[in-house]
Protein backbone atom coordinates (compact mmCIF):
# COMPACT_ATOMS: atom_id res chain seq x y z
CA UNK A 1 0.00 0.00 0.00
CA UNK A 2 1.33 3.41 -0.88
CA UNK A 3 1.03 6.61 1.14
CA UNK A 4 -2.33 7.63 -0.35
CA UNK A 5 -3.81 4.20 0.23
CA UNK A 6 -2.66 4.10 3.84
CA UNK A 7 -4.24 7.50 4.45
CA UNK A 8 -7.41 6.26 2.79
CA UNK A 9 -7.33 3.12 4.93
CA UNK A 10 -6.99 5.14 8.16
CA UNK A 11 -9.65 7.64 7.14
CA UNK A 12 -12.04 4.82 6.34
CA UNK A 13 -11.41 3.28 9.75
CA UNK A 14 -12.02 6.62 11.47
CA UNK A 15 -15.21 7.06 9.49
CA UNK A 16 -16.40 3.65 10.66
CA UNK A 17 -15.66 4.50 14.29
CA UNK A 18 -16.93 8.07 14.11
CA UNK A 19 -19.48 8.33 11.32
CA UNK A 20 -20.45 11.83 12.40
CA UNK A 21 -17.01 13.34 11.80
CA UNK A 22 -16.17 15.28 8.64
CA UNK A 23 -12.79 14.00 7.45
CA UNK A 24 -12.57 15.86 4.15
CA UNK A 25 -10.34 18.64 5.53
CA UNK A 26 -8.00 16.53 7.65
CA UNK A 27 -4.41 17.76 7.56
CA UNK A 28 -1.78 15.05 7.54
CA UNK A 29 0.75 16.81 9.75
CA UNK A 30 -1.60 17.88 12.58
CA UNK A 31 -2.58 15.59 15.45
CA UNK A 32 -5.83 13.82 14.64
CA UNK A 33 -7.28 14.53 18.08
CA UNK A 34 -6.69 18.26 17.55
CA UNK A 35 -8.80 18.16 14.40
CA UNK A 36 -11.60 15.79 15.31
CA UNK A 37 -13.07 14.39 18.51
CA UNK A 38 -11.01 11.26 19.18
CA UNK A 39 -10.17 9.96 22.64
CA UNK A 40 -8.04 7.07 23.83
CA UNK A 41 -10.94 4.65 23.44
CA UNK A 42 -11.23 5.67 19.80
CA UNK A 43 -7.50 5.13 19.27
CA UNK A 44 -7.93 1.63 20.63
CA UNK A 45 -10.60 1.14 17.98
CA UNK A 46 -8.27 2.32 15.22
CA UNK A 47 -5.73 -0.21 16.39
CA UNK A 48 -8.34 -2.98 16.64
CA UNK A 49 -9.60 -2.21 13.14
CA UNK A 50 -6.05 -2.33 11.77
CA UNK A 51 -5.69 -5.77 13.29
CA UNK A 52 -9.07 -6.92 12.04
CA UNK A 53 -8.74 -5.59 8.51
CA UNK A 54 -5.03 -5.88 7.80
CA UNK A 55 -3.65 -8.21 10.45
CA UNK A 56 -1.37 -5.43 11.69
CA UNK A 57 -0.57 -5.56 15.41
CA UNK A 58 0.22 -2.23 17.05
CA UNK A 59 1.50 -2.66 20.62
CA UNK A 60 0.20 -0.18 23.17
CA UNK A 61 3.54 1.60 23.50
CA UNK A 62 3.37 2.48 19.80
CA UNK A 63 -0.10 4.07 19.81
CA UNK A 64 1.58 7.47 19.96
CA UNK A 65 3.07 6.86 16.51
CA UNK A 66 -0.46 7.08 15.11
CA UNK A 67 -1.10 10.61 16.36
CA UNK A 68 -1.05 12.20 12.87
CA UNK A 69 -1.84 10.82 9.43
CA UNK A 70 1.82 11.33 8.48
CA UNK A 71 2.76 9.37 11.58
CA UNK A 72 0.38 6.58 10.55
CA UNK A 73 1.98 6.40 7.11
CA UNK A 74 5.51 6.30 8.51
CA UNK A 75 4.69 3.70 11.12
CA UNK A 76 2.36 1.50 9.08
CA UNK A 77 4.08 1.53 5.67
CA UNK A 78 6.37 -1.43 6.40
CA UNK A 79 3.47 -3.41 7.90
CA UNK A 80 1.02 -2.63 5.12
CA UNK A 81 3.26 -3.70 2.23
CA UNK A 82 1.46 -6.05 -0.10
CA UNK A 83 -1.86 -5.63 1.78
CA UNK A 84 -5.01 -4.76 -0.11
CA UNK A 85 -6.95 -1.65 0.79
CA UNK A 86 -10.31 -2.45 2.36
CA UNK A 87 -12.78 0.37 2.60
CA UNK A 88 -16.43 0.49 3.50
CA UNK A 89 -16.33 -2.74 5.50
Amino acid sequence: MNREEIILAIKDIIQTIAPDEDLSELKTDVRLRDQIELDSMDFLDIVMELRKRYGVQVPEEDYKELATLDGCVAYLAPHMQGKTLKVGV
Binding site: A18, P19, E37, D39, M41, L44
Partner: protein, 464 residues
Protein backbone atom coordinates in the same frame (compact mmCIF):
# COMPACT_ATOMS: atom_id res chain seq x y z
CA UNK B 1 -21.29 -30.87 20.51
CA UNK B 2 -18.60 -31.28 23.14
CA UNK B 3 -17.42 -28.44 25.34
CA UNK B 4 -17.49 -25.21 23.35
CA UNK B 5 -14.55 -22.86 23.68
CA UNK B 6 -14.96 -19.10 23.80
CA UNK B 7 -12.59 -16.17 24.03
CA UNK B 8 -14.95 -14.79 26.64
CA UNK B 9 -18.10 -15.84 28.43
CA UNK B 10 -20.20 -13.01 29.82
CA UNK B 11 -22.40 -13.86 32.80
CA UNK B 12 -25.60 -11.81 32.73
CA UNK B 13 -27.28 -10.06 29.81
CA UNK B 14 -27.83 -6.75 31.56
CA UNK B 15 -26.47 -3.45 30.36
CA UNK B 16 -22.84 -4.12 31.21
CA UNK B 17 -22.85 -7.68 29.91
CA UNK B 18 -24.44 -6.75 26.61
CA UNK B 19 -22.02 -3.86 26.13
CA UNK B 20 -19.02 -6.07 26.89
CA UNK B 21 -20.36 -8.69 24.48
CA UNK B 22 -20.77 -6.15 21.69
CA UNK B 23 -17.25 -4.78 22.09
CA UNK B 24 -15.73 -8.26 21.97
CA UNK B 25 -17.86 -9.52 19.10
CA UNK B 26 -17.07 -6.35 17.17
CA UNK B 27 -13.44 -7.42 17.10
CA UNK B 28 -14.10 -11.01 16.16
CA UNK B 29 -13.75 -12.45 19.63
CA UNK B 30 -15.82 -15.54 20.14
CA UNK B 31 -18.18 -14.42 22.86
CA UNK B 32 -21.43 -15.58 24.38
CA UNK B 33 -23.61 -13.57 26.74
CA UNK B 34 -25.58 -15.83 29.09
CA UNK B 35 -28.62 -15.11 31.19
CA UNK B 36 -30.89 -17.27 33.28
CA UNK B 37 -34.02 -15.44 32.23
CA UNK B 38 -36.06 -15.33 29.07
CA UNK B 39 -35.64 -11.61 28.50
CA UNK B 40 -32.36 -9.76 28.40
CA UNK B 41 -31.69 -6.46 30.18
CA UNK B 42 -31.17 -7.67 33.76
CA UNK B 43 -32.42 -5.04 36.18
CA UNK B 44 -33.38 -2.83 33.25
CA UNK B 45 -35.93 -4.87 31.44
CA UNK B 46 -39.68 -5.14 31.07
CA UNK B 47 -42.54 -7.55 31.51
CA UNK B 48 -46.04 -7.79 30.13
CA UNK B 49 -49.19 -7.92 32.14
CA UNK B 50 -52.75 -7.43 30.91
CA UNK B 51 -51.49 -6.72 27.41
CA UNK B 52 -49.39 -3.85 28.68
CA UNK B 53 -45.63 -3.49 28.86
CA UNK B 54 -44.15 -2.44 32.19
CA UNK B 55 -40.56 -1.25 32.32
CA UNK B 56 -38.37 -2.21 35.26
CA UNK B 57 -35.42 -0.07 36.18
CA UNK B 58 -35.51 2.63 33.59
CA UNK B 59 -37.03 5.86 34.82
CA UNK B 60 -34.63 8.00 32.92
CA UNK B 61 -31.57 7.59 30.83
CA UNK B 62 -29.03 9.93 32.37
CA UNK B 63 -26.23 11.71 30.49
CA UNK B 64 -28.49 13.46 28.01
CA UNK B 65 -26.38 15.05 25.28
CA UNK B 66 -27.77 17.38 22.65
CA UNK B 67 -27.38 16.15 19.07
CA UNK B 68 -23.90 17.01 17.82
CA UNK B 69 -22.26 16.77 21.26
CA UNK B 70 -19.41 14.28 21.03
CA UNK B 71 -17.30 14.58 24.15
CA UNK B 72 -19.67 13.47 26.92
CA UNK B 73 -20.28 9.88 28.10
CA UNK B 74 -23.43 9.06 26.11
CA UNK B 75 -22.11 9.90 22.61
CA UNK B 76 -18.78 8.26 23.47
CA UNK B 77 -20.58 5.13 24.56
CA UNK B 78 -22.71 4.97 21.42
CA UNK B 79 -19.61 5.44 19.31
CA UNK B 80 -17.88 2.53 21.04
CA UNK B 81 -20.91 0.34 20.50
CA UNK B 82 -21.55 1.71 17.01
CA UNK B 83 -25.19 2.23 17.75
CA UNK B 84 -26.53 5.27 15.93
CA UNK B 85 -28.02 7.76 18.30
CA UNK B 86 -31.21 7.90 16.22
CA UNK B 87 -31.86 4.29 17.10
CA UNK B 88 -32.45 5.25 20.73
CA UNK B 89 -35.01 7.88 19.76
CA UNK B 90 -34.31 9.87 22.92
CA UNK B 91 -36.94 12.23 24.25
CA UNK B 92 -35.79 14.82 26.78
CA UNK B 93 -37.45 15.32 30.12
CA UNK B 94 -39.76 18.29 30.50
CA UNK B 95 -38.60 19.39 33.93
CA UNK B 96 -37.92 17.56 37.17
CA UNK B 97 -37.94 18.40 40.83
CA UNK B 98 -36.15 17.73 44.06
CA UNK B 99 -38.46 18.14 47.05
CA UNK B 100 -36.89 17.87 50.49
CA UNK B 101 -38.75 19.12 53.55
CA UNK B 102 -40.23 22.41 52.38
CA UNK B 103 -37.55 23.02 49.74
CA UNK B 104 -38.04 22.61 46.02
CA UNK B 105 -35.54 22.64 43.17
CA UNK B 106 -37.07 22.67 39.71
CA UNK B 107 -34.61 21.89 36.95
CA UNK B 108 -34.29 20.84 33.33
CA UNK B 109 -31.31 19.54 31.41
CA UNK B 110 -27.92 21.24 31.46
CA UNK B 111 -25.83 23.00 34.10
CA UNK B 112 -27.44 26.42 33.54
CA UNK B 113 -30.79 25.00 34.55
CA UNK B 114 -29.71 23.55 37.90
CA UNK B 115 -27.80 26.76 38.70
CA UNK B 116 -30.95 28.79 38.07
CA UNK B 117 -32.92 26.39 40.25
CA UNK B 118 -30.51 26.84 43.15
CA UNK B 119 -30.44 30.62 42.67
CA UNK B 120 -34.25 30.67 42.92
CA UNK B 121 -34.62 28.38 45.92
CA UNK B 122 -31.39 29.12 47.82
CA UNK B 123 -30.26 32.59 46.67
CA UNK B 124 -27.59 32.94 49.35
CA UNK B 125 -25.95 29.66 48.29
CA UNK B 126 -25.52 30.29 44.58
CA UNK B 127 -21.88 31.37 44.68
CA UNK B 128 -20.90 28.31 46.67
CA UNK B 129 -23.00 26.13 44.39
CA UNK B 130 -21.21 27.48 41.32
CA UNK B 131 -17.90 26.61 42.95
CA UNK B 132 -19.23 23.13 43.63
CA UNK B 133 -20.23 22.76 39.96
CA UNK B 134 -16.74 23.85 38.97
CA UNK B 135 -15.18 21.33 41.37
CA UNK B 136 -17.40 18.57 40.01
CA UNK B 137 -16.43 19.44 36.45
CA UNK B 138 -12.73 19.40 37.28
CA UNK B 139 -12.67 16.29 39.46
CA UNK B 140 -11.57 13.02 37.89
CA UNK B 141 -13.79 10.43 39.58
CA UNK B 142 -12.04 7.55 37.87
CA UNK B 143 -8.62 8.26 39.28
CA UNK B 144 -6.94 5.28 40.88
CA UNK B 145 -7.50 5.58 44.60
CA UNK B 146 -9.57 3.63 47.02
CA UNK B 147 -12.34 6.03 47.92
CA UNK B 148 -13.27 9.70 47.77
CA UNK B 149 -14.84 9.89 51.24
CA UNK B 150 -18.34 11.00 52.12
CA UNK B 151 -19.98 13.50 49.78
CA UNK B 152 -21.94 15.11 52.62
CA UNK B 153 -18.76 16.30 54.32
CA UNK B 154 -17.26 17.49 51.02
CA UNK B 155 -20.36 19.43 50.08
CA UNK B 156 -20.12 21.42 53.32
CA UNK B 157 -17.02 23.09 51.81
CA UNK B 158 -19.24 24.94 49.36
CA UNK B 159 -22.78 24.73 50.71
CA UNK B 160 -23.79 26.10 54.12
CA UNK B 161 -27.50 25.31 54.18
CA UNK B 162 -27.90 21.65 55.17
CA UNK B 163 -31.23 21.55 53.36
CA UNK B 164 -29.55 22.25 50.03
CA UNK B 165 -26.95 19.57 50.79
CA UNK B 166 -29.83 17.17 51.35
CA UNK B 167 -31.51 18.28 48.11
CA UNK B 168 -28.36 17.36 46.21
CA UNK B 169 -27.89 14.04 47.98
CA UNK B 170 -31.41 12.63 47.65
CA UNK B 171 -31.46 12.16 43.85
CA UNK B 172 -27.87 10.97 43.75
CA UNK B 173 -28.42 8.41 46.52
CA UNK B 174 -31.57 7.06 44.89
CA UNK B 175 -29.88 6.84 41.54
CA UNK B 176 -27.16 4.61 42.66
CA UNK B 177 -25.61 4.57 46.07
CA UNK B 178 -25.05 1.07 47.39
CA UNK B 179 -24.03 2.39 50.80
CA UNK B 180 -26.39 3.21 53.59
CA UNK B 181 -26.47 6.75 54.96
CA UNK B 182 -23.73 7.87 52.68
CA UNK B 183 -22.95 8.82 49.14
CA UNK B 184 -19.33 8.40 48.23
CA UNK B 185 -17.74 11.51 46.67
CA UNK B 186 -16.62 10.00 43.37
CA UNK B 187 -20.04 8.47 42.90
CA UNK B 188 -21.61 11.83 43.69
CA UNK B 189 -19.48 13.46 41.01
CA UNK B 190 -20.41 10.89 38.37
CA UNK B 191 -24.11 11.01 39.13
CA UNK B 192 -24.27 14.78 39.64
CA UNK B 193 -22.74 15.27 36.22
CA UNK B 194 -24.91 12.71 34.53
CA UNK B 195 -28.20 13.85 36.11
CA UNK B 196 -27.79 17.60 36.50
CA UNK B 197 -24.97 18.88 34.31
CA UNK B 198 -25.98 16.63 31.42
CA UNK B 199 -29.56 15.57 32.06
CA UNK B 200 -32.41 13.13 31.73
CA UNK B 201 -34.05 11.58 28.72
CA UNK B 202 -35.92 8.43 27.78
CA UNK B 203 -36.00 6.35 24.63
CA UNK B 204 -39.45 6.50 23.07
CA UNK B 205 -40.70 2.95 23.54
CA UNK B 206 -38.93 2.70 26.88
CA UNK B 207 -36.25 0.22 27.80
CA UNK B 208 -37.27 -2.12 24.97
CA UNK B 209 -35.97 0.39 22.42
CA UNK B 210 -32.53 0.28 24.02
CA UNK B 211 -32.60 -3.48 24.55
CA UNK B 212 -33.54 -4.09 20.92
CA UNK B 213 -30.68 -1.88 19.76
CA UNK B 214 -28.18 -3.70 21.98
CA UNK B 215 -29.33 -7.14 20.91
CA UNK B 216 -29.36 -6.19 17.24
CA UNK B 217 -25.81 -4.90 17.48
CA UNK B 218 -24.53 -7.91 19.41
CA UNK B 219 -25.96 -10.36 16.91
CA UNK B 220 -24.87 -8.25 13.93
CA UNK B 221 -21.26 -8.45 15.16
CA UNK B 222 -21.44 -12.21 15.54
CA UNK B 223 -21.88 -12.37 19.31
CA UNK B 224 -24.18 -14.97 20.82
CA UNK B 225 -26.95 -14.19 23.26
CA UNK B 226 -28.26 -17.21 25.11
CA UNK B 227 -31.30 -16.76 27.29
CA UNK B 228 -32.56 -19.37 29.78
CA UNK B 229 -28.92 -20.31 30.17
CA UNK B 230 -28.19 -19.68 33.83
CA UNK B 231 -24.67 -20.09 35.13
CA UNK B 232 -24.54 -22.55 38.01
CA UNK B 233 -20.78 -22.36 38.56
CA UNK B 234 -17.78 -20.44 37.33
CA UNK B 235 -15.15 -23.13 36.83
CA UNK B 236 -11.61 -22.62 38.08
CA UNK B 237 -8.59 -24.53 36.83
CA UNK B 238 -5.79 -25.99 38.92
CA UNK B 239 -4.18 -22.52 39.17
CA UNK B 240 -7.44 -21.12 40.53
CA UNK B 241 -8.00 -19.09 37.37
CA UNK B 242 -11.40 -18.95 35.70
CA UNK B 243 -11.55 -21.44 32.83
CA UNK B 244 -15.21 -21.74 31.97
CA UNK B 245 -18.75 -21.96 33.25
CA UNK B 246 -21.14 -24.76 34.11
CA UNK B 247 -24.70 -24.03 33.02
CA UNK B 248 -27.80 -24.96 35.01
CA UNK B 249 -28.54 -27.67 32.46
CA UNK B 250 -25.13 -29.32 32.95
CA UNK B 251 -23.47 -27.96 29.81
CA UNK B 252 -19.89 -26.70 30.15
CA UNK B 253 -18.57 -23.71 28.20
CA UNK B 254 -14.80 -23.30 28.26
CA UNK B 255 -13.26 -19.90 27.79
CA UNK B 256 -10.18 -17.71 28.10
CA UNK B 257 -11.91 -15.19 30.31
CA UNK B 258 -15.10 -14.75 32.26
CA UNK B 259 -16.70 -11.33 32.57
CA UNK B 260 -19.37 -11.40 35.25
CA UNK B 261 -22.11 -8.86 35.79
CA UNK B 262 -23.69 -10.93 38.54
CA UNK B 263 -22.29 -8.70 41.29
CA UNK B 264 -19.25 -9.08 43.51
CA UNK B 265 -20.71 -11.32 46.18
CA UNK B 266 -22.78 -13.35 43.71
CA UNK B 267 -19.81 -13.85 41.35
CA UNK B 268 -17.58 -15.13 44.13
CA UNK B 269 -20.36 -17.45 45.21
CA UNK B 270 -20.47 -18.84 41.66
CA UNK B 271 -16.79 -19.62 42.14
CA UNK B 272 -17.57 -21.37 45.43
CA UNK B 273 -16.07 -18.53 47.46
CA UNK B 274 -17.63 -16.67 50.38
CA UNK B 275 -17.69 -12.93 50.97
CA UNK B 276 -17.52 -11.05 54.26
CA UNK B 277 -20.90 -9.93 55.61
CA UNK B 278 -20.06 -6.25 55.07
CA UNK B 279 -19.86 -6.86 51.32
CA UNK B 280 -23.53 -7.81 51.16
CA UNK B 281 -25.75 -5.11 49.70
CA UNK B 282 -28.61 -4.06 51.96
CA UNK B 283 -30.52 -1.59 49.84
CA UNK B 284 -33.52 -2.69 47.88
CA UNK B 285 -36.69 -1.11 46.58
CA UNK B 286 -40.40 -1.40 46.02
CA UNK B 287 -41.80 0.18 42.92
CA UNK B 288 -45.39 0.81 41.88
CA UNK B 289 -46.60 1.52 38.36
CA UNK B 290 -50.00 3.11 37.96
CA UNK B 291 -51.58 3.43 34.54
CA UNK B 292 -53.71 6.55 34.59
CA UNK B 293 -56.91 7.32 32.70
CA UNK B 294 -55.51 10.60 31.46
CA UNK B 295 -52.04 12.04 30.84
CA UNK B 296 -50.29 12.81 34.13
CA UNK B 297 -49.87 16.45 33.17
CA UNK B 298 -53.61 16.76 32.48
CA UNK B 299 -54.17 15.58 36.06
CA UNK B 300 -52.13 18.51 37.32
CA UNK B 301 -48.65 17.00 37.69
CA UNK B 302 -46.17 18.26 35.13
CA UNK B 303 -42.78 17.11 36.39
CA UNK B 304 -41.04 14.18 34.75
CA UNK B 305 -39.12 13.06 37.87
CA UNK B 306 -39.56 14.03 41.50
CA UNK B 307 -36.86 13.01 43.96
CA UNK B 308 -38.35 13.52 47.37
CA UNK B 309 -37.82 13.29 51.10
CA UNK B 310 -40.67 14.39 53.32
CA UNK B 311 -38.30 15.19 56.21
CA UNK B 312 -35.46 17.68 56.06
CA UNK B 313 -32.89 14.98 56.53
CA UNK B 314 -33.59 11.73 54.78
CA UNK B 315 -32.64 8.23 55.84
CA UNK B 316 -31.04 6.37 52.99
CA UNK B 317 -30.90 2.98 54.59
CA UNK B 318 -32.66 -0.35 54.79
CA UNK B 319 -35.95 0.44 56.52
CA UNK B 320 -37.03 -1.28 59.71
CA UNK B 321 -40.43 -1.89 58.18
CA UNK B 322 -41.28 -3.37 54.78
CA UNK B 323 -40.97 -0.04 53.05
CA UNK B 324 -39.93 3.52 53.87
CA UNK B 325 -42.37 5.85 52.15
CA UNK B 326 -40.85 9.02 53.61
CA UNK B 327 -38.51 9.37 50.66
CA UNK B 328 -38.35 8.10 47.14
CA UNK B 329 -38.60 8.79 43.45
CA UNK B 330 -41.68 9.57 41.37
CA UNK B 331 -41.49 9.21 37.61
CA UNK B 332 -44.20 10.22 35.16
CA UNK B 333 -43.01 8.47 32.02
CA UNK B 334 -45.56 10.36 29.93
CA UNK B 335 -44.06 13.68 31.00
CA UNK B 336 -41.10 13.22 28.68
CA UNK B 337 -41.34 15.47 25.65
CA UNK B 338 -42.34 12.53 23.46
CA UNK B 339 -43.60 9.07 24.45
CA UNK B 340 -45.63 6.12 23.22
CA UNK B 341 -48.42 6.20 25.76
CA UNK B 342 -51.00 8.18 23.82
CA UNK B 343 -53.65 9.56 26.19
CA UNK B 344 -52.75 7.40 29.17
CA UNK B 345 -50.56 8.43 32.06
CA UNK B 346 -47.79 6.16 33.37
CA UNK B 347 -46.80 7.00 36.90
CA UNK B 348 -44.19 5.17 38.95
CA UNK B 349 -43.19 5.51 42.60
CA UNK B 350 -40.05 3.94 44.07
CA UNK B 351 -39.16 3.66 47.77
CA UNK B 352 -36.57 1.89 49.88
CA UNK B 353 -37.63 -1.55 51.08
CA UNK B 354 -36.39 -4.32 53.33
CA UNK B 355 -35.65 -7.50 51.39
CA UNK B 356 -35.50 -9.85 54.35
CA UNK B 357 -38.89 -8.79 55.66
CA UNK B 358 -40.51 -9.18 52.25
CA UNK B 359 -38.91 -12.58 51.78
CA UNK B 360 -40.20 -13.80 55.11
CA UNK B 361 -43.86 -13.24 54.24
CA UNK B 362 -46.26 -16.06 53.37
CA UNK B 363 -48.26 -15.78 50.17
CA UNK B 364 -51.43 -14.22 51.61
CA UNK B 365 -49.41 -11.92 53.86
CA UNK B 366 -47.33 -10.93 50.87
CA UNK B 367 -50.33 -9.94 48.75
CA UNK B 368 -51.85 -7.93 51.61
CA UNK B 369 -48.51 -6.28 52.40
CA UNK B 370 -48.17 -5.19 48.80
CA UNK B 371 -51.54 -3.45 48.91
CA UNK B 372 -50.77 -1.80 52.23
CA UNK B 373 -47.32 -0.60 51.19
CA UNK B 374 -48.57 0.60 47.82
CA UNK B 375 -51.10 2.75 49.67
CA UNK B 376 -48.36 4.24 51.84
CA UNK B 377 -46.15 4.96 48.85
CA UNK B 378 -48.89 6.49 46.72
CA UNK B 379 -50.11 8.65 49.61
CA UNK B 380 -46.55 9.90 50.11
CA UNK B 381 -46.26 10.63 46.39
CA UNK B 382 -49.48 12.61 46.69
CA UNK B 383 -47.78 15.00 49.08
CA UNK B 384 -45.03 15.97 46.65
CA UNK B 385 -46.51 15.12 43.26
CA UNK B 386 -49.81 13.40 42.50
CA UNK B 387 -51.81 10.77 44.33
CA UNK B 388 -52.58 8.53 41.37
CA UNK B 389 -55.14 6.29 43.08
CA UNK B 390 -58.34 8.06 41.94
CA UNK B 391 -57.17 7.98 38.31
CA UNK B 392 -55.74 4.49 38.07
CA UNK B 393 -56.95 2.04 35.43
CA UNK B 394 -54.24 -0.61 35.88
CA UNK B 395 -51.66 -1.16 38.57
CA UNK B 396 -48.67 -3.32 39.29
CA UNK B 397 -45.90 -3.38 41.85
CA UNK B 398 -42.59 -5.10 42.40
CA UNK B 399 -40.86 -5.76 45.70
CA UNK B 400 -37.34 -6.82 46.73
CA UNK B 401 -38.59 -10.39 46.49
CA UNK B 402 -39.51 -9.86 42.83
CA UNK B 403 -36.09 -8.36 42.15
CA UNK B 404 -34.35 -11.28 43.79
CA UNK B 405 -36.45 -13.84 41.93
CA UNK B 406 -36.06 -12.36 38.48
CA UNK B 407 -32.61 -10.86 38.50
CA UNK B 408 -30.76 -12.65 41.25
CA UNK B 409 -28.82 -10.09 43.30
CA UNK B 410 -28.31 -11.11 46.90
CA UNK B 411 -30.89 -9.39 49.08
CA UNK B 412 -32.53 -7.76 46.05
CA UNK B 413 -29.73 -5.20 46.27
CA UNK B 414 -30.09 -3.48 42.92
CA UNK B 415 -27.09 -1.25 43.46
CA UNK B 416 -24.98 -4.16 44.55
CA UNK B 417 -22.29 -4.41 47.15
CA UNK B 418 -21.20 -1.45 49.27
CA UNK B 419 -17.65 -2.70 48.74
CA UNK B 420 -16.98 -1.93 45.13
CA UNK B 421 -14.18 -3.44 43.10
CA UNK B 422 -13.44 -0.55 40.79
CA UNK B 423 -10.81 -2.32 38.77
CA UNK B 424 -13.13 -5.30 38.34
CA UNK B 425 -10.78 -7.66 40.17
CA UNK B 426 -12.14 -10.03 42.78
CA UNK B 427 -9.01 -12.05 43.36
CA UNK B 428 -9.61 -14.74 40.75
CA UNK B 429 -7.46 -14.66 37.65
CA UNK B 430 -9.16 -14.39 34.26
CA UNK B 431 -12.35 -13.32 35.97
CA UNK B 432 -13.45 -9.70 35.82
CA UNK B 433 -16.47 -7.94 37.23
CA UNK B 434 -18.51 -5.66 35.04
CA UNK B 435 -21.48 -3.52 36.00
CA UNK B 436 -22.72 -2.09 39.22
CA UNK B 437 -20.10 -3.46 41.56
CA UNK B 438 -17.42 -1.63 39.64
CA UNK B 439 -18.92 1.52 41.04
CA UNK B 440 -20.44 2.76 37.81
CA UNK B 441 -24.13 3.44 37.91
CA UNK B 442 -27.07 4.32 35.83
CA UNK B 443 -27.68 2.70 32.48
CA UNK B 444 -24.96 4.67 30.77
CA UNK B 445 -22.49 3.92 33.58
CA UNK B 446 -23.26 0.21 33.43
CA UNK B 447 -22.90 0.10 29.66
CA UNK B 448 -19.61 1.99 29.90
CA UNK B 449 -18.28 -0.42 32.50
CA UNK B 450 -18.90 -3.29 30.09
CA UNK B 451 -17.10 -1.43 27.33
CA UNK B 452 -14.17 -0.57 29.59
CA UNK B 453 -13.78 -4.12 30.89
CA UNK B 454 -13.90 -5.61 27.40
CA UNK B 455 -11.31 -3.10 26.21
CA UNK B 456 -8.95 -3.48 29.13
CA UNK B 457 -9.17 -7.14 30.03
CA UNK B 458 -9.67 -8.73 26.66
CA UNK B 459 -8.97 -6.49 23.66
CA UNK B 460 -5.84 -4.89 25.10
CA UNK B 461 -4.67 -8.06 26.80
CA UNK B 462 -1.60 -9.69 25.28
CA UNK B 463 -2.74 -12.28 22.74
CA UNK B 464 -2.64 -15.78 24.08
Amino acid sequence: MANERYDAVVVGAGMSGLAAGIRLAQYDKRVVVLDRHALWGGLNSFYKRGGRRYDTGLHALTNWAPPGEKSTPLPKLLRQLRIPREELDLAEQGFSEVRVGGARLTFGNGSASIEEAVARAFPSEIDGFKRLVQAVKEHDPFGARPDGGAARARLAQWIHDPLLVECLLVPVAFYGSAREDEVEWDLFVVLFRSMFLEGLARPVGGIKTLLDALRRRLVECGGELRMRAGVARILLNERQAASGVLLDGGEVLECERVLSSAGRVETLRLCGLDSPAEHLGRLSFCETTSILARPTAALGHGATMVFFALDERFAYRRPNGLVDATSGVVCASDNYQRHEYGDAGVYRVTCLANHDLWSGLHDEEYAAAKLRCADEMLAAAGKVALDPRPHTTAFDMFTPKTIRRYTGPHGGAVYGSPAQARDGHVGVERLHLVGTDQGTLGLVGSLLSGVAAANRHVLMAPTT
